[in-house]
Symmetry: C2
Subunit: 253 residues, 2 copies
Amino acid sequence: MTTSTNPCPSENKKHCHHDMQVNCGNCRLNTICLPIALETDQIDQLDKIIQRGRPLRKGEHLYHANDPFTSVYAVRAGAIKCYSITNDGKEQVTGFYLPGEVLGMDGISKHRHGSSAKALETSAVCEIPFENLGDLSTRIPSLQRHFFQLMSQEITQDQELITLLSKNSAEQRIAALLLSISSRQARRKLSATRFRLPMSRTDIGNYLGLTVETVSRVFSRFQKLELIAVDNKELELLKPDTLRLMVDGEEGE
Amino acid sequence: MTTSTNPCPSENKKHCHHDMQVNCGNCRLNTICLPIALETDQIDQLDKIIQRGRPLRKGEHLYHANDPFTSVYAVRAGAIKCYSITNDGKEQVTGFYLPGEVLGMDGISKHRHGSSAKALETSAVCEIPFENLGDLSTRIPSLQRHFFQLMSQEITQDQELITLLSKNSAEQRIAALLLSISSRQARRKLSATRFRLPMSRTDIGNYLGLTVETVSRVFSRFQKLELIAVDNKELELLKPDTLRLMVDGEEGE
DNA sequence: ATCGCCCATTGACACAGGTCAACCCGGTTT
DNA sequence: AAACCGGGTTGACCTGTGTCAATGGGCGAT
């Protein structure tokens, strides 16, 4: 409920007293982030292992693919894009992470990050050293359970994306992405119908397996049909129900 | 360390005494399955919570989407296909699971299975009740770590599939699947170049976001180019290196 | 054997989305 | 203010894959 939307207005300063005050107990995201389902004193324990660095500026990396894996990260503000480079040198966007969401879990298996993570805008993240989280999880079973759930959720989401890519048209994919962002906005108690897209058209296309041109055309088409109103990255969903219908599509029947 | 490679040679018989004797300690898959990295006495503890039911016949379900989630499963023999039904009623294959592989982890987050699991041929699975596994994990940190790794691996694999679907041609997708099965064969010390595809062309197409017709045409083309030899479901990779090149593709350059 | 069924293959054609190219717009450099 | 640059939009055309339809082959049931 701060007046400024930017968590750290003086982002150039090395230390931002704003950030130093943050902890899981008072973070306004603690009902949707890792601490969910933890007791107050357990949150304090979790809090002790979490590290909060300086904010990332747009374009800065949180980690690179193949960096040794040490931590997972929770987004506190801003937006992070995860991507990997395919063997033939192309970028593949694997996900967008918004405040309250946890990224980096794909690095656990190989002890190296499987993808790179880059700030799409000025962002703040909480670093959660994985060793400590593992230890703590053996002492707080509900934390272990919750973390299992987080990973399982990531799997479910990836599988939904797989379905989207393998079965749905360009329009359906884009409608689905817009609705996904919308519902994640709602989870944070922000407007579900008006928001700013943190990522470029190119990123959207890359994520959804489409070219920029197609993304642009679909946006234009949606605009013409008055399903949405776009002004560059500012977006308003005018008829979310219609979009929902497109995604849940009767067409195939 | 058994002499027979097939854990249940007389697979038509309702009860196969072989199966009743199986435990993690003597299972020939224990170097690639869950017990990996456990001590002997820890394996015994794991073994105690694992349940081994009767084999599944082809077409039988291990669980259905939306069944309450209680367990994850390790395949001991045969092959399992996981799939979900999209909101417009189409099937989406989300994965094929071969011996030594663990499935069902997408159910953890919602306490319900996110997909259905069906035997592609006569199969045997080990059921691992998740509550018990969680408890045991708090006492055996290496088990917890390994299970985290398994889930992370599933995430990585899903992301690879996402990349495949969003960036690669029909030929590349199919080449990639063949190589994936090949390497999983090798992991089990079976031939990496000759094997039987347990799934139908339709399933392959569904999994890879292609139609049956396209799958069939690509198989024919590969056959004509003498990259593979196909006889219905029997497959031989004649030039795995060429296939590998197709997947790692220079083309885009 | 014969029937029926399902899976696989092949061909002809259509179309969604990719490719290539031109242009626009807002911001930054000179 | 001119030149530049990256991101976005739009148009014209092309192509890989889907769609539809016909045919064949394997296998279980009778």
